[in-house]
């Protein structure tokens, strides 16, 4: 099954494919109705990632070397339309080039790049491990969706079957669906 294809040629493969492979784990299987249920999520923000910070926790019970990534997303709530700046946290990340961990359920570095427009679902959590409190990215990578421009429209990119947003959907359509479900 191994090929002798020159490595240089393979390096040209879009990193997006690999990124998708690295962002993996076992999460609750959800549809949109379940995701927007108030027992699961407090809010969803459509906006731009404006900051990202990784921090390390060494915890006496939960163990050493717990790494978390905290993103700031500035935009509007998809639940009530209000202006919203949200700090949302997920497990995994690197505090420096040589210190950190890849987490199998974290969204990819490409998905969480500063400047990306995203839809993020979150829920306040008093302890997401290591006594870290904050808005937890709900279902980890399954709670973050990229948003792309399509002409004058914004389109939320679906992640496939089993995710809250399975297929690509225009923002106004998603907003209307959420309004109906809530």
């Amino acid at each position: 099954m191994h090929s002798k294809t020159p490595l240089a040629a393979l390096l040209a493969v879009p990193a997006l494919i690999v990124g998708a492979a690295l962002g993996a784990a076992q999460i609750e299987r959800l549809d949109l109705k379940q995701m927007v249920d108030e027992t699961r999520t407090d809010n969803a923000v459509l906006g731009t990632i404006t900051a990202k910070q990784v921090f390390r926790v060494d915890h006496p019970v939960d163990g050493d070397e717990l790494y978390f990534t905290r993103m700031t997303i500035q935009g509007k709530s998809l639940y009530d339309g209000s202006d919203l700046t949200a700090e949302v946290t997920f497990a995994g990340g690197f505090v420096s080039p040589n210190e950190g961990v890849h987490n199998s359920e974290a969204p990819t570095a490409d998905d969480t790049r500063i400047g990306n427009t995203v839809v993020v679902f979150y829920q306040w959590t008093n302890n997401m491990g290591g006594d870290v409190a904050g808005n937890a990215l709900y279902a980890a990578h399954g709670g973050l969706f990229r948003v792309a421009k399509a002409g004058s429209d914004q389109v939320v990119l679906g992640r496939g079957e089993g995710y809250a947003i399975a297929r690509n959907v225009r923002v106004p359509v998603l907003r209307a669906e959420i309004e109906k479900l809530r």
């Binding site: 099954m1 090929s3 294809t5 490595l7 393979l10 390096l11 493969v13 879009p14 990193a15 690999v18 990124g19 998708a20 492979a21 690295l22 962002g23 993996a24 784990a25 076992q26 999460i27 609750e28 299987r29 959800l30 999520t41 019970v61 939960d62 163990g63 050493d64 070397e65 717990l66 997920f90 497990a91 995994g92 690197f94 040589n98 210190e99 950190g100 961990v101 890849h102 987490n103 199998s104 974290a106 829920q123 959590t125 008093n126 302890n127 997401m128 491990g129 290591g130 937890a136 990215l137 709900y138 279902a139 980890a140 990578h141 399954g142 709670g143 496939g160 079957e161 089993g162 995710y163």
Partner: protein, 450 residues
């Protein structure tokens, strides 16, 4: 400290290459770009689970001896990815009867029992983590070639029964998925139905059994099980083990045991075989070995295909019963091959063990079974093979029935417990073209137990 960023890009590139090279029928699985070398095959549990359901199963399984509850569930979750059916019978999991061990790749784990702590992100330990993180059940920290660490969020109701749970989430099912990440797989691009599907619905026990796309994935990373890979087919003895199988190194083999007590590292207990052939070896069981699996590694080999399947063994249980067929029969005058077989268990307490010879005996002919307590052999004899070392002992004369079948009850005495004996059938075949007038079956290695 984990230092992995420096190889993230190469890993990513290789991962991409791997994705491109996936065969057309295997488009679902994705890879993380690394693998676990032979030094990273250990699996342990730090049992800090707070859900009572994790430790409710207190019934040990004879095929996975010595462990119960969450330990047994975690052990089975790794064994499911193994190269062979566990103990060659695949028993031990009621949700997939006879099918435990489905990987078919050059990949096997060594179960190392209880860890003393959660450990670092490359210490190969499963454990619970406090709190909750939205809809996340568990995650794997994946430096890959340096090892891994798997965490389960405390807020879920974890269950670890032998069979399928009725509520909560199945620890074994989720662990099978997470261990797939540890060995190098990402999520499959298929939406559902595979162990490596990203999402899971409660209780999720179906994920215990890896499916075709998962199997393609582990075979892609570690290679399809090589024809030269060592394979354990039976274990007998107690303080000195006789391990039978195929593809062992003819001169030097290392035997891996599960550690008896909690240990700071997951390193298996290792012992060199005192006697080796390609089909059988003997090893003295180290005092530090406990119940778990035995594996055989070829001498100094470091290839994925140099490590055998795991085979359940409990050094505290006394001598093990075993009956293994070996050697080659002599084709009879009628062109049939006389085969040795058995029924029952070679146990002094059960005492229902029978040897038989079928499909190749001569109807109404006289014959005997004979044996040796010295060892196996392949010595040319009477146009066939004498499958044991001298001295041999002959049993009484028996008459084959009209169909060339014979059944011989073997009474097991208390002094035979722990003994290994090699059996073969001899019978008259007066019209055999080689002029010897003798027929010979293949042979059976039998270990007697309590």
């Amino acid at each position: 400290m984990i230092k992995i960023t420096r190889f993230v890009l190469p890993v990513a590139a290789l991962g991409a290459a791997a994705l491109l090279l996936v065969p057309t029928q295997s488009q679902g699985f994705t890879v993380l770009g690394g693998n676990l070398n032979l030094g990273q095959r250990d699996v342990r549990l730090f049992n800090n689970f707070t859900s009572p359901g994790v430790n409710a199963n207190t019934t040990p399984d004879p095929d996975l001896p010595g462990w119960t509850g969450g330990f047994l569930a975690i052990w089975k979750s790794g064994v499911e990815w193994a190269s062979e059916k566990h103990n060659l019978n695949g028993k031990g999991d009621p949700t997939q009867a006879g099918d435990l061990g489905s990987g078919g790749a050059n990949f096997d784990i060594t179960w190392q029992g209880a860890a003393t702590s959660i450990g670092g992100p490359n210490d190969n330990v499963h454990s619970e983590i406090s709190g909750c993180n939205g809809g996340v059940l568990a995650y794997t920290e994946i430096p890959i070639s340096d090892g891994w660490r798997i965490r389960y969020y405390q807020c879920w109701s974890w269950q670890a029964p032998a069979g399928a749970p009725f509520s909560g989430f199945d620890l074994q099912g989720v662990a099978t998925h997470e261990y797939g990440h540890a060995l190098g797989l990402g999520h499959t691009t298929f939406g559902g139905g595979q162990t490596m599907s990203a999402g899971i619905s409660a209780p999720g026990w179906q994920a215990r059994s890896i499916e075709w796309d998962d199997i393609d994935g582990v075979r892609f990373i570690y290679g399809v099980k090589a024809a030269t890979k060592p394979k354990i087919s039976g274990i007998s003895g107690s303080s000195v083990l006789t391990i039978s199988g195929t593809n062992f190194d003819p001169n030097s083999n290392e035997v891996w045991f599960t550690q008896k007590t909690q240990n700071l590292s997951g390193n298996p207990i290792k012992a060199l075989a005192s006697q080796s052939s390609t089909t059988s070896l003997q090893v003295t069981v180290p005092a530090t070995a406990g119940p778990g699996d035995v594996l055989v590694k070829k001498g100094l080999g470091q290839a994925f295909s140099d490590l055998s399947n795991g085979f359940g063994f409990d050094p505290t249980a006394g001598p093990q019963c075993n009956a293994t067929i070996y050697c080659t029969a002599k084709t009879n005058s009628q062109g049939s091959v006389p085969s040795i077989g058995s029924t029952g268990t070679p146990s002094v307490s059960v005492n229902d063990f029978h040897l038989n010879s079928f499909n190749g005996g001569i109807g109404n002919a006289n014959g005997i079974h004979f044996w040796s307590d010295t060892g196996s052999a392949t010595t040319p004899f009477a146009g066939g093979i004498l499958c044991m070392q001298p001295p041999t002992v002959r049993g009484p004369v028996h008459k084959y029935d009209a169909f060339g079948f014979i059944d011989v009850p073997i009474t097991v005495g208390i002094f035979e417990v722990g003994l290994t004996r090699w059996f073969q059938f001899w019978f008259r075949d007066p019209t055999h073209p080689d002029g010897t007038g003798i027929g010979l079956s293949n042979a059976m290695e039998v270990s007697f137990c309590n």
